[in-house]
Symmetry: C2
Subunit: 123 residues, 2 copies
DNA sequence: CTTTCATTTCGACATGTGGCGAAGTATAAC
DNA sequence: GTTATACTTCGCCACATGTCGAAATGAAAG
């Protein structure tokens, strides 16, 4: 029950759902997620910690960059199917359509330049 | 997105999940849910309000008693399947096994007597 | 029509959660 | 090694949420 609740609580936040939906297309660097969500780096990091604790995402470090992706092995038997169902509902929403477009632009950018913009410009 | 989040937030509480799981077996009176959850009547009522707002449950009034049941028409396309998946995971947990046993005893009792016990005895 | 009873609403409180900026960490670049 | 970079952790704050008891509601019993 503990684990089921941990997954559900992780899913019960819009920005974390957006994150998962974005990762559906493949792994992303933290800075790309920061750009997508338009939240403070520390906030995004916290969300990712929660998602990882629930075993919904996994991470991989590559030099200075940290990449996150959807888990292969979900903690609860149904977590994967749960996500698939949610994604189907979400795909239709304005918000996710907009996110997908924004993400496409973000992924087109050079990551070093993206980071420069993110960390120099005040929010 | 609003509606998806409403459903997920409704699911992200253990006592509301227990409530839904209990209703899987058929409609229940509020007093039976109070006995099951061992929470204050006002607390249970609030949980039920949240579940109904998310369209996960429906209610029916019969005299002095109020009955709740799982919705037939869920608000989001996947809400029903989502619940089915969760129930499958939950069924294995200690907590739900215990709840099911307790509920069986509670449903065996006369409701008027059950209410007397609930509202006279201090919590 | 007053009282009783089952439930809901209200008001208050403690705890949880999401957000930020500042400080810390670990790696790369110089 | 020193500096810059890309996060993460920490400390704090505002607001949301779960809980309760008291008061309100509405139907039934007397």
């Amino acid at each position: 029950m503990r684990e089921i609740m941990e997954v559900l609580k992780a899913l019960a936040d819009e920005n974390r759902l957006r994150t998962l939906f974005a990762l559906k297309g493949g792994e992303l660097c933290v800075c790309q997620l920061i750009a997508l969500l338009e939240l403070a780096p520390s906030t995004v990091s916290k969300h990712l910690t929660i998602l990882r604790a629930a075993r919904l995402v996994e991470s991989r470090k590559d030099g200075r960059w940290m990449y996150y992706r959807l888990s292969k092995e979900f903690r609860t038997p149904s977590a994967g199917k749960l996500l698939a169902l949610l994604f189907k509902d979400m795909a239709k929403t304005r918000r996710m359509v907009e996110d997908r477009n924004r993400l496409k632009r973000i992924c087109g950018e050079d990551m070093a330049i993206l980071c420069r913009r993110l960390f120099c410009k005040p929010r």
